[in-house]
C-alpha cells in the first residue's frame, strides 16, 4: 500500500502538469486562494464564530456595525454586520457555500450532458451528429445568461408557487447547466473525432468490445483534458451566472442567501452609506471568479495548447 502511494506520488511529480504548475506563480497563488475559499466554505461551521442563521445569536443592537478598522467598528465583526446584525464574514462564507454548490452542480450537469451527447455524436456520426451539432450552433447564438433566464422562467411556470423556494436551487442548477452544455458537446465531439481513428479503438472494435464500453471506458479518459479546461472556465461562468440570477431576484431565495442574493440585499443599503454590506460579498465573488479564471487560463495553456 505504502509502496503504491509512493509511486503515485512520484508519477505526479514526474508529470509535465506538475512541472508547469510549480513554474507558474499565478497558478500557485490562485490555487492557494481557491483552496482556502473552498475549505472555509465547506467547513463553514468550524471556521466562523457565528451562525448567521441562528436567530438567537443575533442582536439588532449590533446591526449596521461597520468593518472593524473603521470608526465605530467592533473587533468581533471583522467585516461589520448587515441590517439584521449578522456577521458579514460568516454570512459571506455561508453564501459562498451555496454559490459553490450551485456552480459545481451546474457544471457537472452540463459536463455529463454535453460530454455524453458530444462523445456519442462524434463516435456515431451521421444524422445524429448533425442534429446535435446544429442544436449547439443554435444555442450558442443565444447569450447563455438569457438562456438560463428563460429556462428559469419556464421552470417557475411549471412548478407550483408553493414549491418555488424549495425547488429554487434545483431549478437554478438545471437552468445554468442547460445554458452551458453546448461548449462541452463541441469540445468533446472534436476530441472524439481525433481519437476514434486511432489504433486502440479499431483494435477494441475488432475484438468485439461494445460501443458503449469503447466510448466511455476507452475514449473518454483520452478526451478528459480539454473537457477539464472547459469545465474550469465553465465553473467561473456558472458562479457568475448564479450570482447574476440571484441578484436579479430569480435565483435562490433570501432565506438561504448565496453571494448574489447578499449583494442584492446589500444594494438597498448603499444609499444610506452602509457600503460594506454589498461591497464585501461583491469583492468575494470577484476574487473567487478571478482566481478560477486564472487557474483556467493556466490549465488551457498547459493541458491543451491547441485550444488557444
Amino acid at each position: 500500500m505504502d509502496n503504491h502511494k509512493l509511486t503515485l506520488l512520484n508519477r505526479i511529480k514526474d508529470s509535465d502538469v506538475y512541472f508547469s504548475f510549480i513554474k507558474s506563480p499565478t497558478a500557485i497563488i490562485s490555487t492557494v486562494i481557491l483552496v482556502i475559499i473552498f475549505f472555509c466554505s465547506f467547513f463553514v461551521e468550524l471556521v466562523t464564530p457565528y451562525n448567521p442563521f441562528d436567530p438567537s445569536s443575533l442582536s439588532l443592537m449590533e446591526a449596521f456595525t461597520p468593518p472593524s478598522w473603521t470608526e465605530g467598528g467592533l473587533s468581533k465583526f471583522i467585516l461589520g454586520t448587515d441590517g439584521q446584525g449578522r456577521d458579514m464574514l460568516s454570512t459571506i462564507l455561508y453564501g459562498s457555500r451555496i454559490s459553490l454548490i450551485v456552480g459545481f452542480s451546474a457544471v457537472i450537469f452540463a459536463l455529463v450532458l454535453g460530454v455524453g451527447l458530444g462523445l456519442s455524436a462524434g463516435y456515431f456520426g451521421g444524422k445524429y451528429e448533425m442534429i446535435i451539432m446544429r442544436l449547439t450552433d443554435v444555442q450558442l447564438t443565444v447569450p447563455s445568461i438569457l438562456m438560463a433566464l428563460l429556462v428559469d422562467g419556464i421552470a417557475r411556470g411549471i412548478i407550483s408557487r408553493e414549491m418555488h423556494d424549495e425547488m429554487a436551487i434545483y431549478v437554478l442548477i438545471f437552468a445554468i447547466g442547460i445554458s452551458e452544455w453546448p461548449q462541452f458537446a463541441r469540445v468533446s465531439r472534436a476530441a472524439t473525432l481525433v481519437e476514434k481513428n486511432k489504433d486502440y479503438v479499431s483494435a477494441s472494435t475488432i475484438i468485439g468490445v461494445s460501443n458503449i464500453i469503447i466510448m466511455f471506458k476507452h475514449i473518454l479518459p483520452n478526451i478528459m483534458r480539454p473537457v477539464l479546461v472547459i469545465g474550469t472556465i465553465g465553473l467561473a461562468l456558472a458562479i457568475i451566472a448564479e450570482a447574476t440570477l440571484s441578484f436579479l431576484g430569480v435565483g435562490v431565495p433570501p432565506t438561504t442567501p448565496s453571494l448574489g442574493t447578499l449583494i442584492r440585499l446589500g444594494n438597498d443599503f448603499l444609499f444610506s452609506g452602509e457600503w460594506w454590506i454589498t461591497f464585501f460579498p461583491a469583492m468575494f465573488l470577484v476574487l473567487l471568479a478571478f482566481s478560477i479564471n486564472l487557474l483556467g487560463d493556466w490549465m488551457r495553456d498547459t493541458l491543451n495548447p491547441k485550444l488557444n
Binding site: 447569450p143 457600503w275 465573488l285
Partner: protein, 314 residues
C-alpha cells in the same frame, strides 16, 4: 425559418406552461363557465389552427394580455422599447468607438506602459460581473461624488410613439452610468480583437509597401490598416448587439432603467407568460435582423464580396 421555430416555442410556452384559463379566472369560476371561456378563446380547436392564429396575431403585434399588469403586452412593450433601444445603441456606440480606438492604440504601441494598463484593465473587465460594475459605479458617482443620477431615465420628451431622454439634460445624465456599465464588457472584447487584427495586418506586404511609398504613419494606421481590421469587428459587433440586449436585463435592473429587460425580469419573477413569450419573439426578431444587417454591411466594407456579387448578377 428561425422565426417560426421561436414562434412555436413561445406558443407552446404560452399554452402548456400552466393552464391559461386558470391564470385568467378566479377561484370561484364554475366548471361550465370555464368550458365556455375555453371555447370562446378557441382553445378547443386543433393545435395547428391555434398555432396559425398565434402567428397571425403575433405578426400584427398582438401577444395577449399580461397576467400581472392586466394590460395588453404590445402596449407594455412599445412603452418600454425606446428606453432599451436608446440604452443599447449608446452603449454599442461607446463600446465600438472606444474599443476600436484603444485596440488600435495597443496594437500599434505594443510594448508601451499605457498599453499594459489598458490590457490589464480589460482582463479585469472580463472577470467582473456586470452588476458588480454597476453597483461600484453607483456608489462612486452617485453616492460619494453625487454628480450623476443612479436610477431611472430622468425627464423624457415624448415624440409621438417614441419617448426620448436625449433632449433633456437630466435624461442625458441618466444614460451615462447604465450605458458605460453595459458597454464595458463588450469593449474589452473589441479591444482584444482590434489589437490582434492590427498586429497581424501591420505585418502584411501592402502596409510595407505603403510605408515604402512614404505615406504618413497615421494615415497608414487609420486608413489602410484599420479598414481591413474592421471586418471581423463588424461581425462581433453585430453578435454583440444581441448580447447587449441580453445583458441590458441586468443593467436595467441595477439602474432601474424602465426598459424591456426590467419588464422581462418582473415577468420571470411573477411567471407572466405572455410577456415572456413576447420578449422571446422580439429577441429572436432582433437577432435575425442583426444578422441581415451585418451581411449587408459586409457588402459595403469588403470590396471582394461586392465584386463577387456583381460578377454573379452579371
Amino acid at each position: 425559418m428561425v422565426m417560426l421555430v421561436v414562434a412555436f416555442v413561445s406558443f407552446s410556452l404560452f399554452n402548456f406552461v400552466g393552464d391559461p384559463i386558470n391564470n385568467m379566472v378566479g377561484e370561484e369560476t364554475s366548471d361550465e363557465e370555464r368550458v365556455e371561456l375555453r371555447e370562446t378563446l378557441g382553445l378547443t380547436d386543433p393545435i395547428y389552427i391555434q398555432f396559425s392564429r398565434f402567428v397571425g396575431n403575433a405578426s400584427k403585434g398582438n401577444f395577449g394580455i399580461s397576467y400581472q399588469l392586466k394590460r395588453p403586452v404590445s402596449e407594455l412593450i412599445s412603452e418600454r422599447l425606446p428606453a432599451t433601444i436608446e440604452l443599447v445603441l449608446i452603449s454599442a456606440l461607446i463600446a465600438l468607438v472606444s474599443g476600436t480606438l484603444l485596440g488600435v492604440y495597443t496594437g500599434i504601441n505594443r510594448k508601451g506602459f499605457l498599453s499594459d494598463i489598458i490590457l490589464a484593465i480589460s482582463l479585469l473587465g472580463v472577470s467582473l460581473p456586470t452588476f458588480v460594475i454597476g453597483i461600484l459605479f453607483i456608489y462612486l458617482f452617485a453616492v460619494i461624488l453625487g454628480i450623476l443620477p443612479s436610477f431611472g431615465r430622468g425627464e423624457v420628451v415624448s415624440l409621438g410613439y417614441w419617448t426620448t431622454g436625449f433632449l433633456t439634460l437630466s435624461g442625458l445624465k441618466a444614460i451615462i452610468l447604465p450605458s458605460v456599465t453595459l458597454s464595458l464588457f463588450q469593449m474589452t472584447y473589441i479591444i482584444r480583437l482590434v489589437r490582434a487584427e492590427m498586429m497581424e495586418i501591420l505585418q502584411t506586404d501592402y502596409i510595407k509597401f505603403a510605408r515604402a511609398r512614404g505615406i504618413k504613419e497615421k494615415s497608414i494606421h487609420y486608413k489602410h490598416a484599420l479598414k481591413n481590421g474592421l471586418i471581423p469587428v463588424i461581425t462581433i459587433a453585430g453578435i454583440n448587439i444581441g448580447t447587449l440586449i441580453a445583458f441590458s436585463i441586468i443593467t436595467e435592473t441595477v439602474f432601474q432603467w424602465p426598459g424591456m429587460g426590467f419588464l422581462f425580469i418582473q415577468a420571470v419573477q411573477f411567471v407572466d407568460i405572455p410577456i415572456m413569450s413576447a420578449y422571446l419573439v422580439f429577441i429572436a426578431f432582433v437577432f435575425v435582423m442583426i444578422n441581415f444587417i451585418v451581411d449587408i454591411l459586409y457588402y459595403f466594407i469588403d470590396p471582394r464580396i461586392r465584386v463577387k456579387a456583381e460578377a454573379v448578377s452579371g
